[in-house]
Symmetry: C2
Subunit: 898 residues, 2 copies
């Protein structure tokens, strides 16, 4: 449904598929889990037995330890332990990463400083170092886990919406992300660590969850996992900036649409603990004397700013809004440009590491301190420039650079010939496009910190201008309060980062980063203005990436678009719903499956009543069909026939049975049938899932329990169906229902045929024609839904539900689609796609495009109640007439429902 891009095929919408599904599945899930636990328990006890057998006493000790551990963990309350462990681990990771980055940057400086005799060598060192690091990072990530590329916040937003992204939370990705990020940031490129840390924290949480589940408990619960992931996102931001409150708020704003307040404490608890440990490590390492902010400022407390300076802050906010939108646009433009230019694209696809190297070369060349870098403080690292920008001294008292008391790193901003204003302007412009470009490199990297620094520089620029214009401050009273450009830098940083990410909580992050909250009102005003401007121009950076990556998403409702209250579900729903009836035969199933690629199909009572009973997943139906036409059933049929023939051998003797004597071997039959199918090239893909079954002996012991795998049926009628179906993954999942397999294990295998082993005493002696006929007969049988997972309560809307409400419900419950019913009758379906279209249509064309022709007729008279009445009448009449047709063409009922 939401899958209209080829990239999306790989995604499994396990969660979003249905609202009701997981409620139903819980039971199945519980059973599976029970089976799995039992099994693993057996395995473990077997392992323990082995241990005991092998090592005697030592094993007993171990068992005892394990039991004690189990007891402890089950007692203390796992949430606490989990959150503390998560915080601890993430603080350590953050600190170690920071430490490594600092060493990397120091090494570069040392090299650069050591080679000051020769400018060319200096340049070479300055350029080669980041190129090597970035290339390594890109290559390493590419090889180990391509999922680790980029920020991670867009993906986490998608995951928290309920979509399962494959391979996204594995240990490999964790390693790739941490090492890749360290190298990328160590290169000194304008990249950030915030986004990746959100991802790393989520990885950590997922891995920790897996680890803790070894000791039993509730770690398998899916809704709990989502809660924990939400907390992990908060930890990620929190330990990155030592900003627990801002971290929680930022992660909420960035990843959630609706937030459960009861999960608040998790985020705060873990983020606080993490930030605490992170800063304690700094104290322990003697970097700091005590726990303080990361980028501590020392603005005066008594008179932080004058009321008359507020217009300047407002200007910063509005300009940042435009700047933020421009940044998002630029970033998307670069990505799309590279994608569209096919020649470039082809070349880059071949030499994947060339693009990162080239970009790094360009950027590092431009920042080379003796070169152009001297005009833009090129020798400062990101952190250093931020510290200098937030300094509370004024650089340019009267606009003359000479008066400015340069100390330490601040000297980098001084240039003998060039004004400090020019330096700042150049810094802003160069860093702006550099950051937009650098964040497109396929390494783990975020854009928050670069944007933050650019914003600080912009604020500083405005502040310095103000300080130059009003050298004695604006305040008219007796005491002179000079203007503090550092305060403007704080405001600018918060505003620009807020504009790019569409969040308000950057304000809080800025307070926690600087350790001062005195500028709260200017910051808040600027951030809100920046958000207002940016949100009306562009999506947030993360939403932009989500769209670029074609992840499933639901756009936000814009600000004050009241036409949303007027659009109804009936205007956007798809009226031609694919459904199956309770008394349908397998042939109907087959044709419905052939027609569309919907992930789920509605189950109605009958084609004329159209009463919605539930919904069934496509995969379920496919397995039903394949079971019906399975080889084992056919074998059974042959066996029965043989038995019947034995009883009266001369009785049944037609041409079919004669053909049957030809004894086509199974291999041959396979070949023939494959040749008949026009979709044969995709066959190998559907042979994947059997490998795990071969690997695990426990599964082989109960072959009867397993639902028949697609290899098993190989019916002629099914061929085209399975081969044309894009979601082989879903099928696999279904077939492996009783043997949960980790994704790593699912690799193509050549040993598939081994599984189609002997299954009885009789031989498959049917000819193709016989098989075809047998299958035709099978298709005419009525479907037996007994072994089928039916979602008995799919989410239902009514025609009059407003778009606004629908959006709320979809984002609240993470729905993928919902059925539209009218007094029990299925009349339509709304999926994420329709909703997205409706919202985006109205957002771009301001309510013109989205209002469909039907909407205009709505207010004329009491049409809806009439239709309801007629529908009721239909139901009623049916009751009176007691007429139940056996087989009614589906097209007719489609017309009816329209």
């Amino acid at each position: 449904m939401a899958g209209d891009g080829s990239d999306q095929r790989a995604l499994q919408y396990e969660q979003t598929l249905m609202y009701g599904r997981y409620t139903q599945e819980l039971g199945v899930y519980a059973k599976e889990e029970a089976a799995r636990l039992r099994e693993s328990g057996q395995r473990r006890s077997r392992a323990l037995d082995l241990l005991e057998y092998d090592k005697g006493r030592c094993a007993k000790c171990r068992i005892c330890t394990v039991r004690c551990q189990k007891f402890l963990i089950s007692r203390v309350g796992e949430d606490w332990i989990f959150l503390i462990l998560l915080g601890l681990v993430m603080a350590l990771v953050s600190w170690v990463v920071d430490f490594c980055i600092a060493i990397c940057l120091q090494a570069q400086k040392w090299m650069y400083g050591g080679l000051d005799s020769n400018v060319f060598l200096q340049y070479l060192a300055w350029v080669t170092y980041p190129v090597v690091l970035i290339t390594f990072s890109a290559g390493f990530t590419q090889i180990l886990a391509p999922q680790a590329v980029g920020s991670g916040i867009p993906e986490m937003k998608t995951i928290l919406r309920g979509v399962v992204l494959k391979e996204y939370l594995t240990f490999k990705t964790f390693v790739a992300k941490v090492i890749g990020l360290t190298c990328a940031l160590g290169s000194g490129m304008p990249l950030g660590k915030e986004g990746p840390f959100v991802h790393i924290a989520s990885l950590c949480a997922a891995l920790l969850s897996k680890f803790m589940s070894l000791f039993g408990g509730i770690y398998e619960n899916e809704s709990r996992n989502i809660e924990m992931l939400a907390a992990a996102c908060a930890v990620g931001v929190g330990c990155c900036f030592a900003a627990p409150i801002g971290g929680v708020l930022f992660s909420i704003e960035v990843t959630s649409t609706f937030f459960a307040v009861r999960n608040y404490w998790r985020g705060f608890f873990a983020a606080t603990f993490s930030a605490f440990i992170f800063r304690v490590l700094a104290v322990w390492n003697r970097d700091e004397e005590t726990i303080t902010a990361l980028f501590k400022t020392r603005f005066r407390l008594d008179f932080p700013f004058d009321l008359q300076e507020l217009p300047a802050f407002a200007v910063i906010g509005i300009a940042s809004g435009f700047g933020g939108a421009l940044f998002v646009y630029l970033n998307r433009l670069i990505v799309q440009f590279i994608r569209k230019q096919k020649t470039i694209n082809k070349f880059l696809m071949k030499k994947r590491l060339l693009y990162p190297a080239l970009v790094t070369l360009l950027i590092s060349t431009l920042t080379f301190p003796p070169g152009f870098g001297q005009f833009m403080a090129g020798k400062l690292t990101q952190g250093e420039s931020l510290v200098t920008l937030l300094d509370n001294r004024t650089w340019a008292k009267q606009g003359i650079a000479e008066e400015f008391d340069y100390i330490g790193n601040a000297q980098a901003w001084k240039h003998p010939q060039v004004n400090v204003f020019v330096t700042l302007v150049l810094f802003i412009i160069m860093k702006f496009w550099m950051s937009a470009l650098a964040t497109t490199i396929p390494v783990p990297c975020g854009a928050f910190m670069p944007v933050f620094v650019i914003g600080a520089a912009f604020g500083r620029l405005v502040g310095e201008c103000m300080a130059a214009w009003f050298p004695d401050g604006i305040h008219s009273d007796e005491s002179i309060y000079p203007i503090v450009p550092g305060g403007y830098a704080v405001v600018g940083a918060a505003a620009l980062s807020g504009a790019v990410t569409h969040t308000v909580s950057t304000a809080v992050i800025v307070f926690e980063l600087t350790g001062q909250i005195s500028h709260i009102l200017p910051v808040m005003i600027a951030v809100i203005l920046a958000n207002a401007v940016a949100q009306s121009l562009q999506p947030s950076l993360y939403d932009s990436i989500i769209r670029i990556k074609k992840l499933p998403y639901l756009p936000e409702l814009g600000w004050g678009h009241h036409e949303k209250y007027n659009i109804r579900v009936e205007d956007i729903m798809v009226r031609d719903v694919r459904y199956i009836t309770l008394n349908c035969c397998y042939r109907d199933l087959h044709s419905v499956l052939m027609l569309g690629h919907l992930k789920t199909l509605a189950l109605v009572e009958s084609a004329e009543s159209m009463i919605l009973l539930g919904s069934i997943e496509r995969a379920q139906l496919q397995s039903l069909l394949s079971q019906q036409l399975s080889r084992s059933r056919r074998m059974e049929y042959i066996r029965e026939r043989a038995a019947a023939e034995k009883k009266c051998p001369s009785d049944v003797s037609n041409s079919d049975s004669e053909d049957g004597r030809q004894r086509a071997s199974q291999e041959v039959r396979f070949q023939i049938s494959t040749e008949e199918s026009t979709f044969s090239p995709t066959r190998p893909a559907s042979q994947k899932p059997l490998k795990p079954a071969l690997k695990r002996p426990s599964v082989m012991e109960r072959p009867t329990k397993l639902p028949t795998s697609p290899q098993d049926h190989s019916g002629i009628a099914l061929k085209s169906l399975f081969c044309s179906s894009p979601d082989v993954e879903a099928l696999e999942k279904n077939n492996n229902m009783e043997t949960p397999v980790s994704p790593e294990q699912r690799k193509p295998s050549k040993r598939v045929r081994i599984s189609v082993v002997d299954d009885g005493d009789v031989e498959d002696d049917m000819t193709l024609r016989e098989i075809a006929e047998w299958e035709e007969r099978q298709l005419d049988e009525q479907v037996d839904f007994n072994n089928c997972k039916i979602d008995p309560a799919p989410f239902q809307l009514v025609e009059r539900t407003s778009l606004h409400k629908t959006h709320t419900i979809f984002s609240l419950l993470g729905l993928d689609h919902a059925y539209v019913t009218s007094i029990g009758r299925l009349i339509g379906v709304v999926s994420l796609k329709e909703l997205r279209k409706a919202i985006e249509g109205s957002v771009t064309v301001k309510g013109v495009k989205v209002r469909p022709p039907l909407a205009s007729f709505r207010d004329s008279g009491t049409s809806s109640s009439e239709t309801e009445a007629t529908e009721l009448h239909k139901l009623w009449d049916r009751h009176r007439n007691v007429s139940l047709p056996g087989e009614q063409p589906t097209s007719e009922s489609d017309e009816k429902s329209q």
Copy 2:
């Protein structure tokens, strides 16, 4: 359903009634609105006509102005204007209230100071002043709007959950709350303004919404109103403390269960604007030089605290947790004590103002500065004590009070004989019970600020102890950093207020209040620990009040109760569902309505299929029934009979028609039937709704459109039904469907009988027996659901939905109940009550009580899929057999569904 207390009867659960209801009702609502708008448009245009007629040119100008205004408002984007107006108004209100309170407090001080010659006169002045103010406040609120009493946060929480509390957001309440609050706080009692300000802001928003709706637009939309109320709550806290961020977060934590992130900006925008104006007013009034924090602190920035002080902060947190729980407990205990003691209660009910006066007398006597007040800084107001407590000087260097450099207000803490520690301890203990007692006074008041001050005092106490123990600070390095007790006060204030309210965002409020964020980690640690302790002991103060006031609520799931993941809906659902079938007759309707008092009834296809088609409100069914037995239908019958008699006068002539000649007049019939009914005393109540109909001529013009009112039917069979039904309100609402009436208009009227006017040419000449027989015949007819509002998509769960998920869904969607279905079949219903029972059972008894016997059988085998299968079979069989019974006893199907 949720109405099990008599207090609750008055509440109309318009929102919570049904999930699906409002979706359905949207259509009806839109129609109503359209009618209303048309009508008001007519009225307005008529008014304009009149104006034009009367005044000529001036009126034209006016029309022009109105149109310009309309255009402007429709263009600029109403949300912005609304939020800015709200912020502005609230800032003004907050400032004016603060100003008046300051004047009141000054007046008290002036009186007290002026009378220093005579201690008795001083005492009289000190005591009389608050007693008079509090008594006035209590009396004024009682007379004008009793809804204004108390904090307002519990009620707002209930309203934001979707419950409509009557008269809660009216102008009267606004006036009562503002004036009552000003007087109450002006008395100097330990009361706060935070809670009431949340209520005032919501009132403001509601009134502003009404005002703005005069100009058209989307102000009538219900979901928009909820969004605006959420923003208003943020504004309330924000403008009270000049804390925009903390305000937003606090209001979210306190009022919401799930928060829409897209509403974030509204709160931030309005709260920032409000806080800004609030502080600008202070600057404008020359109270401040520029915009700064309310209770500015000046702690050193370089070394705010030592790492080794953290255990002390943790101790503050844990102790505050216990303290907070104790406060909530004490508060509830006082209320319950007064309620239980019947003699006290009776006495107090008579003399309502005595209780406030007595409490005030007690508290003000104890704080009398020359009396006991000297040991507890009694002469300081709340704000003054907070300022002194947050001071960054140390009061007791070596534990000796003499060394402490007392300046200004801080002198109040010095006592010549008594140690400062003793003063602090006395202050804490006395203020603790005083605050708990004072917040039970029936005046508009909050408990946040008193608790905040107590927390600050407790923190200060710990800090002073630490300073006494470590006079040179703990830090072992060369530089000496003495301990800052003011920092401890900040931590204590945040921790205790966090514990009482169960929020983490008090930390943010504290930063914004003090203007310093340097103590972020200690504050966060203390707040989290305090929350952990308090939440495991007691509900939050607001939840406690919700329970005391018996408002509908859904308890939160506790921390880490994983048994919630194991309880299923099937364990808690009610299996004996009241339902009506599509083909039922009016008699069934009657009996179902007689049986229970459920607000809504399920509509199933038939008693044997039990396929859920939708749900119908009780009121709808009642009106159906009353319509069927209405006088007008009877008149029609009489008319038809008369016509038939005219045609063949000798044909039909039985004893009934003879009795019919007796010609009982209508009045007589009314009397008799009333005497027959045993529930007659409640009759007058159901006569309310007709007054508006009489008032408005436009309604009278179309009497045929109106559904028949309860007066109109007055059938014998209905008598008992309507009189025994407690929700006359709902019925009224239903009957006034097309004429929305503001609650003020709904007052008992004596002119009711006029409405039962002549409705034809024939006279009601039926005898009682005839009527009874006629009604019997009517009851046997099948129900015609055509004119009935059916909710076609009531919320459905399945048996296996976990309690955790159910809780989430209920609180997400604000449900009141949900049906449990199994493949379309209705098998049970879960209401808020069951859910509450299940959660509270498990919370108190730790999972023992709640797990019902059925739950233990769940894991044994695949029982559920079997039942599903059998149910499917049933459906299927039904399809095959094509057997549709006309009338099956309902009891049988009940058994089946169990």
